[in-house]
């Protein structure tokens, strides 16, 4: 597969810098704001916000598949070490699971919206709580890979190439 990619730079990447953390802006922000707008919409009886939530949720679902594509390529080039290995495994597993959860929730939401866009059952709010929790766990794992283990950062890649890690 590496034959298909341009040569690797000092981030051990075929492109300037990691793309996965940029794509996940749109998964994290849209999924969380969707849950928040649902909550505000129910509490303040503002059904307008349910429409805003729906579109944000749909966008998060589209974005997560793009995030996974780049995530898989960059994980394959990350050369995790020590405990980062199991963190990356868990991050990948939850990432794929989140794609399933987001798709299911979006499908459910599509049906709810088709039937009555002005109301939202409490069961969907509860599902939103589960979604937000999963996102927070996933973000924490991703944070550890970059901010603790420094995967794809120049100093760590240099140390790896020198055989020090």
């Amino acid at each position: 597969m590496q034959g298909l990619l341009p040569p690797l730079n000092d981030h051990n990447l075929p492109w300037m810098d990691t793309i996965h953390p940029i794509i996940v802006h749109f998964v994290i922000a849209m999924a969380i704001i969707s849950v928040i707008f649902d909550l505000i919409g129910v509490l303040t009886r503002k059904p307008q916000l349910f429409e805003v939530s729906f579109w944000n949720l749909l966008f998060a679902t589209v974005a997560i598949f793009v995030a996974i594509i780049f995530g898989q390529v960059e994980a394959g080039l990350a050369e995790p070490y020590g405990a980062a290995r199991s963190i990356l495994d868990l991050h990948s597993t939850i990432g794929w699971s989140l794609a399933g959860v987001l798709s299911l929730l979006t499908g459910w939401r599509y049906v709810l919206r088709s039937r009555d866009p002005q109301s939202l059952p409490l069961s969907f709010l509860a599902a939103g709580g589960v979604l937000a929790t999963l996102v927070v766990v996933q973000v924490t794992l991703g944070n550890q890979l970059i901010w603790v283990y420094g995967l794809h950062t120049v100093p760590v890649v240099a140390a790896q190439r020198a055989g020090l890690v």
């Binding site: 953390p21 802006h25 969380i32 070490y81 088709s114 420094g150 100093p155």
Partner: protein, 224 residues
């Protein structure tokens, strides 16, 4: 770029006070050392980069949906084909509420950014991919961050006037100029984000592994 200005301040005998300025050996950051970890923060994972997800995600999607609302006459057939019921006002609702949320959260993004930049210890002797040193990168990213916060707040006020006053009764809730300015801001945010990414991935700011390596430690022992 900032470099000539800094060179004048640091290198030439332009101003005697500036030329002889010295950084005290006992930097004020040392007062906090007992409470800081290997990543130079009092906690394991930095906050600013996580709030950035919301600033960028909300801004970009707000504008994207206002573009969708503006181009509604073109795309409505596509959505009918997809059996996805849409309303123009629904798209513009996303454009407004996402931008409002962006403006609110960005105050915290910038505040967290300043806290963490005050504690930043960039790896010495590094020049970034776009050719800046660490202090230049931090100055551009810090001052730029405040400017972008101001711009986002102004855009939100502009968007609010369009929604509630000027274009209240119109189908297309935003001016073309608004969308054009927003696309310009995309470019600025992209460049700004690149500087932030370089502070992490090249200068190793607040990255435990990078800081341990810079202090000469072996990751096999220090970070098993």
């Amino acid at each position: 770029m900032l470099s000539p200005l800094l060179l004048m301040a640091g290198g030439s005998p332009l101003h005697p006070l500036l030329a002889t300025a010295v950084v005290p050996a006992d930097s004020p950051i040392s007062q906090l050392v007992p409470s800081l970890g290997a990543n130079d923060l009092p906690y394991a994972l930095p906050i600013h980069p996580n709030l950035v997800h919301f600033t960028i995600g909300l801004f970009v999607i707000a504008i994207a949906f206002d573009i969708a609302g503006a181009l509604y006459p073109v795309e409505k057939r596509v959505f009918r084909f997809l059996a996805l019921p849409i309303t123009r006002s629904g798209f513009h609702d996303v454009g407004w509420y996402n931008l409002l949320a962006c403006a609110i959260v960005t105050f915290f993004t910038v505040a967290a950014g300043f806290f963490e930049m005050l504690l930043a210890v960039p790896i010495a002797g590094v020049t970034s991919t776009i050719g800046l040193q660490s202090m230049e990168t931090m100055l551009w990213h810090g001052v730029g961050g405040v400017v972008i916060l101001l711009v986002i707040v102004l855009m939100t006020v502009w968007r609010g006037y369009q929604r509630f006053v000027w274009r209240k009764d119109l189908g297309r809730q935003v001016q073309w100029l608004y969308l054009l300015v927003a696309m310009g801001i995309f470019l600025v945010i992209g460049l700004h984000g690149t500087l932030g990414a370089e502070l992490a991935a090249e200068f190793g700011v607040h990255i435990t592994a990078d800081q341990l390596l810079a202090s000469g430690q072996n990751l096999r022992d220090a970070l098993p």
